[in-house]
């Protein structure tokens, strides 16, 4: 569902508020179908907020954005998909090591995607978040 919307209905993201509504629906579904994932998502948010200078923003394509100043470290969608900017060199190394996937839309960019599916994924997600934080430092 998420992949279909991102791939075929991405033009709808231009409608103000619609990505946020879609993300709220994703989050409600996550709560219903994967309640354990929410705890992991909350822990990632708490950890991000504990990083120096990091604050939350509403991501323009829906979800929670982690930002330092004007720069975005990454964002977490309502379904648990974590997108992070790590830079091209780190990206290649992380993908080669199987620690992250190419970004689900911009596969050739310095961004990576990571699925937070269960609380067991939290340590990996936090490791990636630390790399993203140093990439933007």
């Amino acid at each position: 569902m998420f992949r279909f919307v991102v791939r075929h209905l991405h033009w709808l993201a231009r409608v103000p508020g619609l990505p946020q509504l879609f993300d709220a629906a994703l989050l409600a579904w996550t709560w219903l179908a994967h309640p354990g994932r929410l705890a992991a998502m909350q822990e990632i948010e708490n950890h991000a907020l504990a990083l120096p200078g990091v604050r939350l923003r509403a991501h323009r394509l829906g979800g929670i954005e982690f930002a330092r100043g004007a720069q975005e470290l990454g964002h977490l969608h309502g379904n648990g998909l974590l997108d992070l900017f790590v830079g091209r060199r780190e990206r290649d190394a992380l993908i080669a090591a199987g620690r992250a996937e190419p970004h689900h839309v911009f596969a050739q960019s310095g961004w990576v995607s990571f699925w937070v599916r269960t609380p067991a994924d939290t340590p990996c997600a936090l490791g990636l978040l630390a790399i993203a934080a140093s990439a933007r430092w």
Binding site: A24, L27, A28, W31
Partner: protein, 313 residues
């Protein structure tokens, strides 16, 4: 490091939570009735109950709730739970104050919840205690947008068409299209079982244009119709002359006309085509039209399957 203050102890969390839920619903009610009154004073849609968009109103409600909850620094899970409670409170209010029907509440609930949740999640981020920017201005702006949307809106008509194959020639189908006895089958569509009136019988006042028809529904509802097109063995069109006053339909939808068309397949079978024209007054249109189409289809099929049974019997 994060500068968020520590959340208040549990005992003092209750009042801001309740205040947020109540304030959200009070603002939503004020918007709802305020816009309705404005429209009535300008002579538009006087009889419509659900005038403001059920997309924008709950979004504003979510923002308002988040403003009251901001010092509690709610988690994602808190937003999910408290938005649900706020939604249930609003639905209970709608049932008590405007006597909204169960089916309408069930249909509206998922949309309302997601909109309130979206507002609460955005508000959770925008109204964080350490964020000094004045973000509350979004609420009056959204309220203005809600009122403006209702005034700018143009009603769009919808049509639902269904067809069914009957193993009988048109001459055997036609009499049962004009009128049929009481449908003995219990409703099998889940929304009918929930309380939406379902068709039970149709009477016919004559076989000519201008003749009265009556379509009877469960709950004692009768929809009065007048024949506007009469082509024997081919087409029967009727205009709705009196709208149903049932709480599940009143003010939300205007029924315009219905039509049965018979297509002779020249092999002893007939395709019966049923169509209904209506205008929905609730928004977001795409959401409520999905439900309306589904319910109209269920009404069509209940009648057309009965006609099929009678014609083939």
């Amino acid at each position: 490091m994060s500068e968020d203050p520590a959340p208040p102890p549990p005992a003092s969390r209750l009042w801001p939570l309740l205040a947020g839920m109540l304030a959200a619903n009070l603002v939503a009610a004020a918007l709802f009735f305020g816009v309705k009154a404005l429209l009535a004073s300008s002579g538009q849609n006087e009889k419509m109950l659900a005038v403001p968009s059920l997309c924008l109103v709950p979004l504003v409600a979510g923002f308002v709730a988040a403003w009251f909850w901001r010092r509690l620094t709610p988690t994602i899970g808190d937003c999910l739970v408290h938005s649900l409670t706020t939604t249930l409170l609003g639905l209970a209010g709608a049932a008590i104050v405007i006597h909204e029907g169960v089916v309408c509440l069930v249909i509206a609930a998922p949309a309302l919840y997601v909109m309130i949740l979206a507002g609460a999640l955005l508000g959770r981020i925008w109204f964080r205690p350490n964020d000094t920017r004045l973000r509350l201005s979004i609420v009056p702006l959204l309220a203005l947008l809600t009122a403006g949307e209702a005034f700018q809106r143009t009603d769009e008509g919808g049509i639902v068409t269904d067809e069914i194959l009957i193993h009988a020639p048109p001459a055997r189908v036609w009499p049962h299209v004009l009128a049929f006895s009481e449908i003995p089958d219990a409703p099998d569509y889940w929304i009918f079982r929930l309380g939406l009136p379902y068709p039970t019988q149709t009477t016919n006042g004559g076989d000519f244009i201008g003749a009265d028809r009556q379509c009877m529904f469960s709950d004692g509802i009768t929809i009065r119709e007048k024949i506007s097109e009469f082509v024997p063995l081919e087409k029967l069109t009727f205009d709705i002359v009196e709208q149903p006053t049932h709480p599940e339909a009143y003010g939300h939808i205007t029924l315009h006309r219905g039509r049965f068309a018979l297509r002779d397949n020249r092999d002893g079978t007939t395709t019966l085509i049923g169509s209904s024209w209506y205008t929905l007054h609730v928004r977001p249109l795409w959401y409520f039209d999905l439900w309306t189409s589904d319910m109209t289809r269920a009404v069509h099929l209940r009648v057309m399957r009965h006609v099929k049974q009678l014609a083939e019997g």
